[in-house]
């Protein structure tokens, strides 16, 4: 496959951005429910998810129906956060922590964006050949 195909040249960054956006939603839901009784804050293991995402492209090809599928199974479950200060109403959202996670997630999203953007710039340069 040529190096100029999108799949090869963009690297892991599109998946990273998608996952960052998904995590932003999870964290936003935690923050919106900061005052909801019995709400349990949730999150997912970003590294494990990204790992699963990149390994998914390494799944084995089956050219015969008797071939075994080399599926990479990962548990992409949402997990519950261990609260630092659980509230008396059963809520486990630590607002400050969630806010810092949310901000960090947004920054890392921007970082991935920069990488992806520079990949596109590189492709543009290659096309123009200047």
């Amino acid at each position: 496959m040529s190096a100029l195909s999108f799949k090869n040249s963009l690297g892991i960054h599109p998946q990273t951005m998608q996952l960052r956006a998904a995590r932003a939603e999870v964290l936003a839901n935690n923050l919106a429910n900061a005052d909801t009784p019995n709400f349990k804050a949730r999150d997912f293991d970003f590294n494990a998810m990204l790992d699963a995402e990149s390994r998914r492209s390494l799944e084995m090809n089956a050219t015969d129906q008797r071939h075994l599928r080399g599926n990479v199974n990962t548990d992409s479950e949402l997990m519950y956060r261990n609260p630092y200060q659980p509230a008396i109403d059963g809520n486990t959202v630590d607002t400050q922590m969630e806010q810092s996670f949310y901000t960090e997630n947004a920054l890392r999203y921007n970082a991935s964006f920069e990488f992806l953007n520079s990949k596109f710039k590189g492709l543009k340069n290659a096309i123009k050949g200047q």
């Binding site: 939603e25 936003a28 710039k121």
Partner: protein, 148 residues
């Protein structure tokens, strides 16, 4: 697109907090609204927050990423407004026009200190939701400049 969902989630959060702020305002305004019977007296009102579950249930055959997101709630909703069952205060004020036969006037069970802390909490939560929406907006605006 997940990031546009953040807008919805922050919107539900802001809506819920503004309803909470409204009940607080109503409670404080009616803190001294007296009447002659327990039934007629104003009782403190509190919003009842619940997680807004995702309406979209069909996750079969979809991406694993989407699968995870379908487990997340879609923000917060106000399931209802409940009246406080704290005891009402009776005061002996025989010259009050609303006094009953024994000379007692019933005052609402509004705890003004509690209402004030509630008000601070809800205004902070509202600000937090606005902040969250702004961050998501900046992220989306950045994304729109991809490849420029």
């Amino acid at each position: 697109m997940s990031l546009t969902n953040v807008f919805n989630i922050a919107g539900t959060g802001m809506n819920a907090q503004s309803i909470r702020l409204n009940t607080t305002a109503s409670n404080i305004a009616n803190a001294e609204t007296v009447s002659s019977s327990i039934e007629e007296t104003y009782k403190a009102r509190k919003p009842w927050f619940q997680v807004l579950e995702k309406q979209w249930k069909d996750v079969d055959g979809l991406d694993r990423k989407l699968d995870v997101r379908s487990q997340v709630g879609d923000g917060v909703k106000v399931a209802g407004i409940v009246e406080s069952d704290a005891p009402l205060k009776k005061r002996f004020e025989p010259h009050h026009p609303a006094a009953d036969e024994e000379g007692y006037v019933t005052y609402p069970n509004v705890n003004v200190v509690e209402e004030m802390t509630d008000m601070m909490s809800s205004s902070r939560s509202y600000q937090m939701n606005v902040e969250m929406m702004n961050t998501a907006k900046r992220m989306l605006q950045r994304t729109l400049t991809l490849g420029q």
